[in-house]
Each structure stands twice: as structure tokens, then as C-alpha cells.
């Protein structure tokens, strides 16, 4: 009783402290779930995964000594490995369970959603990845502060990183707790603490090397598991997808409507705005950008995007088949249904489908994979947050670039621990809150603060410190404030009768604010510093195009 009250008070305190509680129902989240019976197959497989990852961490810890090891795995990751790790970092449990649940509920709409998450990658490879690798060292702040003033740009980039990481992390922690309650029959709080402790272990001891390999193992498990479920579904239809679709149309309550776009794009402005956030947000996610510094050179950076795009695209095709499989094999079996919906909640579609096609063993395996997925994503996020604090704020701003390696590493490890505690506390505080807006908000801020500044710093000679700072902060705050005023937060979370801003996706408005801010305050900036910053562009440009002088951590 007491505990419940404390938790509720904590949740409110957090809400008001962030004063933000922003919005944008960008996405499927894991949502609320009912506790299930303890599932020993699942727990055994999950324990197996944890043991493997702890071995990886032990192995990585022996090889993690310098800053370059901790932030960038010594730059020794290959293109294919990094591609798998990016896929492992990007494909969350929400996209596996959430998108297959969306397909299960409304058919084709789920595909529209997943396409949005994929189309940012070609933009990253054609316009960003190589320049990023040639200019940066450990974080994307290295790139934006390359020729601009260190302190204000590092602060902006660290803020952009930490805000994105915070919202993404809360969404993952709450998802983890719900999922474990659901799949393993463990208590929510135990689950959240377990996730927090494991991610802190991976990151503090194993740094980027352990994080990378945890993500690679997870990506292989997730792709393998989803492939197996999809193949077992198709077997039942003689490998004829049209037979699967025909059966789904027959049994789904909405019949032929599931073969068409439905309500998801009812409002074109909303759809375009969400599309912008997903497309350009991907190119501004700090934990993804950081992965480009783990490879030796621009060539490996571009290859890793190709592999990542291929794996992620393939994965979304699988979730589509899995969603349709669940319509035909789960929704038709009363064993999986309860109270007019799925047993355990809407997001159980993929999990029950695994049971339907592969029995308890496959159910356990898919449950363990879903949990492993969360661990890999939160580790990447935590590492990005810790790097923003230790490399950008501590070493570059507070110690003006004169921090020694040992102190910087100690700060990053302490930050990891703090982030772990904060993530656990927020995960518990937000248990019963509506968090559907959080991943969308993270993408909107990445698209409105990180992306414009990063893009212009590499492409536009005229960008000055003043322009970047005004534009970046304006984009960040606009995305945040519009989200708070939107239906997803103002109405759904704060229980006001009507939203002040009528769209859940702010990027269509906040991105132009950022770009115009950057442009206007750069051209108005007549200072001597602005002139020298423009002169420095040429050397930066030549390095970004040729890689001459690029810091290859492995050489």
C-alpha cells in the first residue's frame, strides 16, 4: 500500500519535473500486460542468453582499456559485424511484438508503420555515414564541434543525446517489465531491476565491445527466431502466401479491409510529419550514430549500413508474415483468447503464434529472444548516454579537453551506474503510465535537434556556432513543447479535455524551426569568430570527403 503510494508520487514527481511529458503516439509500445504463470522453458533459455552475454562481457572487459576501446571498441568492428550490431540496436522488442500486433489487429497498416522505420537508412548511407566516420571519433558531438565552439555545441549535443536516450530508455524499461511479467511470470519490479543491473554490467565492464557483441548475438537470435516462426506459418499454407492472406481475410472480423491501408494515415499532415520524424530521426539517434565510430574507415561504415538495411528490411517482412500468421492461427484458437482479446494483452500475438506453430519450446525461445532484444537496445542507449556525459560534458566542456584517460573512463563508468539507477527508478515509476508517445518523441527530437545541426555542420559552410546553438535548441524545445500540447500527452496522459496542438507528430513543424533558426542566426552572425568558422570549413570538407587525417582508432 505504502509502496504503491510512493510509486504513484514518484511517477507524478517525474512527470512534473520533466514538465515535459511530451507526446506523439509514434508507436507500438509493449503496453500493459497481465502477469502469466511462470514459464520455465523461457526462463532456462533466457538464463542461457544471460550466461553467454556475461562471458562476452568478461572477454570484452580484458580487451577494454583505453577510451577508444570503451567508446568505439577500438575501431576494430567489421562492416558486417557493425551492420548486425546496428540492426540489433535498432530492432526493439516494441518493433517485434508491437508491429506484429499491429498487423494482427489491422493488417496492412502495420506494414506502413514499419516502412517508416526503414527509409531513413538510404539517407544515412548516401548523405551521412562516410562523412561522419571521417570527421568523428567517439560521439556525433565530435563532428558538430569540429570547427564550431566546443562548449556550446557539446552541451547542445549532450542535451540532444540525453533527452533522446531518456525517453527511449524509459519506453524500453517499461516494455521490459511488462514483457517479463507477461512471458516469464516474474514480478514487474524484479524484471526492471534485472534489466538495469545487466545493462550496467555489460556497459561498465565491457564497454562498446561487449555492447556490440550482445547486439550481434541478439540480432542473430531475433532474425533466426522470427524466420523460424514465419517459415512454420508458411509451411501450413504450402509456402503460398496468397493462401495465408486468403485465410486471414476469411477469419478476421474486418475481412477484406485488412488488405488495405486503414485508419493509420487518416490525416495526411500527421502521416507526413511522422514520416519525417522516422526518416530523419533515424539519422539523428545518438546510439546509432555512435556505431559508425566502431569501424575502421568510411568504406566499412557504408558497408555496415547496407547490411543493417538488409537485415532490418527482411525483419519487417517477417513481422508482416507473423502478424498474418497470428490472424489465422491464434485468433481462431480459443486457447489463446480471453475477454474478447488475446490472453495477456494485444502484444502477445507473435508469442502465441510461436506456441501455435512450435509448442512450448518455441514459445520459450521467442520469449527469451524478446527479452534479449530489450537488453541489447538498453545497453546501446546507456553507452550513448554515458559517452555524452563523460566525453562531451566532462572531458570537453568541464576539463576543456585536458582530462586524462583514466578520469574520463571513471566518469563514464559512474555515469553508466547512475543511468542504470535512473532507468530502474523511472521504469518502476512509469509502470502504469501511458508511454506510447515516448519512442515517437525520441525520434522527433533526434530529427529536430541532432539531425539539422549535424547535417548543416557537414554540408553548409555558412553554419556558425550562434546559428547551430539557436537552431538546435529551438528544434529540441519545439518538438518537446508541441508533444506536451498534443493529444497523446495533453489529453491521454495529463487528462485535459482537448489538445492545444492537434497533431501527435511535431516534426513537420519542429524541423523547419531548427533549420530556419540555424540559417537565420548564422547569416546574421557577423562576428570575427563566425568568419573564422567559415574559413575552417574547407579543411573539414576535404577531410570529410577524402578521410585524410581521419582518426582510425585501429591504426
Amino acid at each position: 500500500m505504502m509502496f504503491v503510494r510512493i510509486r504513484r508520487a514518484l511517477a507524478l514527481a517525474v512527470l512534473s519535473a520533466l514538465a515535459t511529458v511530451p507526446a506523439l503516439a509514434a508507436g507500438p509500445d509493449v503496453g500493459q500486460a497481465q502477469q502469466q504463470g511462470t514459464n520455465f522453458t523461457a526462463i532456462t533459455m533466457f538464463v542461457g542468453f544471460v550466461i553467454i552475454t556475461l562471458f562476452i562481457t568478461y572477454w570484452a572487459a580484458k580487451r577494454t582499456r583505453s577510451r577508444a576501446d570503451f567508446y568505439a571498441a577500438g575501431g576494430g568492428i567489421t562492416g558486417l559485424q557493425n551492420g548486425l550490431a546496428i540492426a540489433g540496436d535498432y530492432m526493439s522488442a516494441a518493433s517485434f511484438l508491437g508491429i506484429s500486433a499491429l498487423v494482427y489487429a489491422s493488417g496492412y497498416d502495420g506494414l506502413i508503420y514499419s516502412i517508416g522505420f526503414l527509409v531513413g537508412w538510404p539517407i544515412i548511407v548516401t548523405l551521412m555515414a562516410e562523412r561522419l566516420r571521417n570527421l568523428g571519433k567517439f560521439t556525433f558531438a565530435d563532428v558538430v564541434s569540429y570547427r564550431l565552439a566546443q562548449t556550446p555545441l557539446r552541451c547542445l549535443a549532450a542535451a540532444g543525446t540525453l533527452v533522446v536516450v531518456a525517453f527511449y530508455l524509459i519506453a524500453q524499461m517499461v516494455g521490459a517489465g511488462q514483457l517479463i511479467k507477461l512471458l516469464f511470470g516474474l514480478d514487474y519490479n524484479v524484471a526492471v531491476v534485472l534489466v538495469g543491473v545487466l545493462m550496467v554490467l555489460y556497459v561498465t565492464f565491457g564497454g562498446m565491445l561487449a555492447t556490440t557483441w550482445v547486439q550481434i548475438v541478439k540480432a542473430c537470435l531475433l532474425l533466426g527466431g522470427a524466420t523460424l516462426v514465419a517459415v512454420l506459418v508458411l509451411v501450413q499454407f504450402g509456402f503460398d502466401p496468397t493462401a495465408l492472406f486468403a485465410r486471414a481475410v476469411e477469419v478476421h472480423p474486418r475481412h477484406a479491409a485488412i488488405m488495405l491501408p486503414g485508419a493509420i494515415v487518416a490525416n495526411p499532415v500527421e502521416a507526413i510529419s511522422l514520416g519525417l520524424a522516422l526518416m530523419f530521426g533515424t539519422a539523428g539517434l545518438p546510439h546509432i550514430l555512435m556505431r559508425f565510430f566502431t569501424v575502421a574507415d568510411a568504406k566499412a561504415a557504408r558497408k555496415s549500413v547496407f547490411w543493417a538495411t538488409t537485415f532490418i528490411g527482411y525483419f519487417y517482412i517477417l513481422t508482416f508474415i507473423i502478424g498474418f500468421g497470428a490472424i489465422t492461427l491464434v485468433a481462431t484458437n480459443s486457447f489463446y483468447l480471453a475477454g474478447g482479446g488475446l490472453r495477456g494483452g494485444a502484444n502477445m500475438a507473435a508469442v502465441w503464434l510461436a506456441h501455435a506453430v512450435g509448442g512450448n519450446l518455441l514459445l520459450g525461445f521467442i520469449s527469451a529472444v524478446a527479452f534479449a532484444t530489450i537488453l541489447a537496445v538498453v545497453s546501446g542507449l546507456t553507452l550513448a548516454g554515458a559517452s555524452a556525459v563523460s566525453h562531451d560534458l566532462y572531458a570537453s566542456v568541464f576539463r576543456l579537453g585536458r582530462a586524462n584517460e583514466r578520469d574520463e573512463l571513471r566518469v563514464s563508468k559512474i555515469t553508466t551506474l547512475v543511468l542504470g539507477v535512473v532507468a530502474i527508478v523511472l521504469g518502476i515509476a512509469f509502470e502504469t503510465q501511458n508511454i506510447a508517445f515516448m519512442v515517437g518523441l525520441a525520434f522527433a527530437i533526434a530529427a529536430s535537434a541532432n539531425f539539422p545541426v549535424l547535417f548543416l555542420s557537414m554540408y553548409w559552410r555558412g553554419l556558425t556556432t550562434l546559428g547551430a546553438v539557436v537552431g538546435g535548441w529551438a528544434g529540441l524545445l519545439t518538438a518537446l513543447v508541441l508533444t506536451i500540447l498534443s493529444p497523446a500527452v495533453w489529453v491521454a496522459v495529463l487528462h485535459n479535455p482537448a489538445p492545444i496542438f492537434s497533431h501527435n507528430a511535431p516534426a513537420l513543424f519542429s524541423m523547419p524551426v531548427a533549420f530556419i533558426g540555424c540559417w537565420l542566426f548564422s547569416i546574421l552572425d557577423g562576428s570575427a569568430r563566425a568568419r573564422s568558422e567559415k574559413e575552417l570549413f574547407e579543411a573539414q570538407y576535404i577531410r570529410s570527403q577524402t578521410g585524410i587525417g581521419a582518426e582510425g582508432a585501429s591504426h
Partner: protein
Amino acid sequence: MSADVVSRVRENPEFSKLIEKRNRYSWTLAILMLVIYYGFILLVAFDKQFLAIKIGATVTLAFPIGLGVILAAIIITGLYVLRANNVYDPMTRAIVEDAR
């Protein structure tokens, strides 16, 4: 990177050629992706009739189009990587050698 290297690279006509070629190719591909994706979203928003055309007993035109957007993302990424590996990397290597 010294000022000499910068000026040697800048004055190398091969460098301007590389930049022009690569920029044209990467912007073409990036814009192609934007057009494909937003074309798809606009189609979903404004022309559901078109997407509803049946191309089989149950399957609608929306399916190959959606799948096509996914494949387009993968193919565009692959096209850029192929061209960069085979054309831009050798050009860049030659420019870097010259500047040393």
C-alpha cells in the same frame, strides 16, 4: 592535416571531379528514396481506390507496392555502396596519394 595538404587536394582537378560525381549520385539516390517513400504515403492518404485494385483473389496492389518500398530502400543502399566501392574509393585513393 596541414594547410599544404588541404591546398594540394583542393587544387587537384580530380578532387572536384570526384566531388561532383559523388554528390550527383548520392543526392539522386537520396531524393529517389524521398520521392518513393512520400509517394507511397500520399498514395495511402489520397488514393486508397488505387491501392485497393485486386491483383489476385485477395491480394491488393497495396502489397507489391509496400514490399517494393522496402526493397527500394535496400536496393538504393546497395547501389550507393557498389558505386562507392568500385568508383569513388579508387578515385579517393589516387587523390590522397597525390597529396602526400
